[in-house]
Each structure stands twice: as structure tokens, then as C-alpha cells.
Symmetry: C2
Subunit: 107 residues, 2 copies
């Protein structure tokens, strides 16, 4: 149950779900309780709890239970890992599809 180091596959899988993205965007505003997240989404707290587990395991969200309330906020770890992934791929996607250059190199 310790904080696993962020894994890009976990992260992208977590962000692949619309509800989880909604949770993330809500938490980008300010921290919320589980119920505070569930209400506007019109789903049960159980469902939110399940999503939170995925988000937490991917390092995108951090939660802390104090008393009976679990407070959820974004976690930098996952976002930094995601940033790093894109940065590492940059040389690949930044290739200018320069038509001229392409044709010249063709042969």
C-alpha cells in the first residue's frame, strides 16, 4: 500500500477514463472529499472510491483520511512522469514533416 513509483502505463490508463479525468479536473480546482467528488458526478461514493484507488496507484492523486473524511488532492508525481514521457518522445513527434526535405531524402 506504499506509494508506487509512477509508471507511464498506469498513468495513461488512469487518464483514459472520462470519469477519472473529471475527478482530476475537479481536484485541479481544490481538494475534495470523496462525497464532494461523487455528488456533482452523480455516481456513488463507492464508484469514486474505486477510481481514487486507480488514480492513487498511478501517482496522479494523493489522499489522506482524517477522521471519517478522506481528502483528495492532485499528486505531482504522476504529472511529472507524464511530462517526462512527452519530453522524451519530443524528438520523435517534433520531426517537421517538411515536404521538401522529405522528397530530397527519399532516394
Amino acid at each position: 500500500m506504499e506509494k508506487p513509483q509512477p509508471d507511464i502505463h498506469r498513468i495513461l490508463h488512469a487518464l483514459g477514463d472520462a470519469t477519472r479525468r473529471a475527478i482530476v479536473e475537479r481536484l485541479s480546482e481544490r481538494p475534495y472529499s470523496v462525497t464532494g467528488l461523487a455528488t456533482p458526478l452523480e455516481i456513488t461514493v463507492t464508484a469514486v472510491g474505486q477510481h481514487l484507488q486507480v488514480l492513487e496507484e498511478s501517482g496522479l492523486v494523493q489522499t489522506e483520511k482524517v477522521g471519517r473524511v478522506r481528502t483528495c488532492r492532485l499528486d505531482a508525481a504522476g504529472f511529472q512522469a507524464l511530462e517526462g514521457w512527452i519530453r522524451d518522445l519530443r524528438p520523435a513527434w517534433e520531426q517537421k514533416l517538411d515536404r521538401l526535405g522529405e522528397l530530397l531524402e527519399e532516394e
Copy 2:
């Protein structure tokens, strides 16, 4: 069939699938044909074609058919949009969970 402007939800949904991530990572190496992508993944070209449509619609991949071969490469548009999304969220996830500051502000 025109290039739709990148939408972060499309993008994250596209990257949510493991096979599509595998395609992206393969294309980060160099451009590939549809068959060239399908073979190492051990899935049919039909399946790859379906994934390519999703990736293309999200602006992550660009394809061009020349003769009977469709050549696929990464597309900057989607990655730039993804970068922008993370950048915009930065203030939210960059909040230092400074224990001291937290406790002080509590009341």
C-alpha cells in the same frame, strides 16, 4: 475526414489503450506501415487500422497512403495539446504539500 483540432479528451482516451500506446512507442522510433505495426503486436492489420483511426482522430498519429502502403508517423499536434494540458494544470499539482504550511492554514 479533415484533421480535427486536438481535443484533450480524445487524446487521453486514445492513449488509454495499451495497444495504441505500443503503436505510439513503435512510431517514436521511425515511421511504419500498417503491416509493420501489426506484425510485432501479433494482431491483425484490421485491428491496427481501427486503432490508427482513433490515433489519427486524436492528432497523435498522421498517416499517408501512397500506392497500397499506408505510412504512419507521429503527429505533433496531439502531443503539443497534451503538453499544454499538463502545463495548464501545473499550478494545481505543483502545490507543495508543505505539512507546516498546511497545519498553519488549517484554522
